[in-house]
Amino acid sequence: MTEPVIRTRDLRMRYGRTEVLRGVDLEVGAGEVAALLGPNGAGKTTTIEILEGFRRRSSGEARVLGADPGTGGAAWRARLGIVLQDWQDHPRWGVRQLLAHIAAFYDRPRDPDELLAVMGLTAQAGQAVARLSGGQRRRLDVALGIVGRPEVLFLDEPTAGFDPRARREFHDLVGRLAREDGMTILLTTHDLAEAERLADRIAILVRGEVTVSGTPSGLASIVQAPSEVRWLQDGAPRTERTPDPSRLAYELHRRFGGPVPGLEIRRPTLEQSYLNLVGAEPGAAGRDAAAVAERTAA
């Protein structure tokens, strides 16, 4: 059996007394697009930065392309593409100039002009990076991430701050990269729709743990938020939440001795399931694990 391209086992990260990763298990196969989904503070960025070799883990196992990210050398790094959340580097460089410069670090880079065309940045080729719009800048970041023909691409919150059009264009681009180049992609996002649209596999990370993982279509059944059953009892509306709506419907059918008036079963959508899962976590929103790490390090 082939080894997964990305694999973590019991991955843990501690900053002082704060444990931001509490045993993350993750596997991403070759050519898969996987999404690490979770609210702010769940540990997504910490996980991805450990896998990129930017952070040393406290304990557990991590392998990317068969190597430990903590000790991966230049040859290993050349097989990765990395697109971080918030880059504003090289503001005075020209778009093409920067892309050609970064390409020169690799043995078999993509042609910068072709890549600019693919990214829709040909018109901006001679422009200074600082003058690009947010969406253009992000596309340049992706171009810089893939110019070395990486086997694995890490995308950290790739569409944060995008307008809907830029977001759709970006989703199409990621889809093309996975389909046409067979690239393995791991992205982090807190946007469920984005994960559903892009990923073959989703792992939901809550408070430093992968609570559930699977295909987008399989997740709703795994998470199983209770379904809502509605009917009319003596003309008055009644509602009951149950994990087993079929059984309740059967019981109602028996109780009424036939068809149940106004019977309606609402199964949870993936979004409801997700919100149910992460919403139960007190204080999760707005508390960023990486920020905790930075404060601790400071």
Partner: protein, 284 residues
Amino acid sequence: MNTRPIALGVRRGWAEHVHSMRNRRELLAGLGGTVAVFVLMVRWQGGHDAQGTHVSEGLLLAAGFVAFCVFSTGLMNLAMMIAADREEGTLLRLRTVPGGVPAYVVGRAVSVLLQIVTYVVLMLVAGMALAGLELPSDPARWLTLLWVLALGTLAVVPFGAVLGTLLPGPRNAASILSLPVMGLMVVSGVLFPVTSLPEPVQWIAQAFPLYWEGLGLRSAFLPDAMLAGEIGGSWRPLETAGMLGAWAAAGLLVAPVLLLRATRRESGARLAARRERRAAQGAF
């Protein structure tokens, strides 16, 4: 040995230098302003002879000004450049690239060297053309000028890089460094003879490379008639080479380690946290 990062670093350094030369604000406020102040001061002092000699005060000032320019560019400008590179994510970007970190280090060294050369050449040429500055006439003095500039640059550039890794950001770098650098300028004899200062201050001055750069450049620019204003009545070339060499060696030992450590510590989360702090301080 893989020489690609070095070649790419040299190319980076040249590109960075061209960018700064094309930046109108940087060109006017930095290079233009420095050269203009240099010419004005040399002209202003050019009419007066140093006490008891026939040597122009302008020449004395020129040697000190050039020394200070090398010192402040190598130390402050480089520190601010590196702090800005950290804040913008340039260091992190190059960390994601194979061989990117050595290329970055070489690139920054090349860009600051080019900046120093540009400043010094333009100051000397403008001084000659507009302020009647007389440059050394014999080859031995030119040789002194060149080795003092080269060693003086090497003595400060690695420490500029170290400061760039330690300081919290480019704005803080300017505010933190300005005062000590100005203090050193006052006590290092680049504006007036160091022998006019109290002896403890002279010892403090001699601990830093600025004094030795100034002394070395004065030995290239000034006749021996000016030796009366120097400590020990000598140009002390061996001590100058020794002190500047010691600073350079110490810097070259420490700087790569700290630069690599600073680069290794860079991450997306750190970058974001730094930017959040700046935003909270209202720096945007």
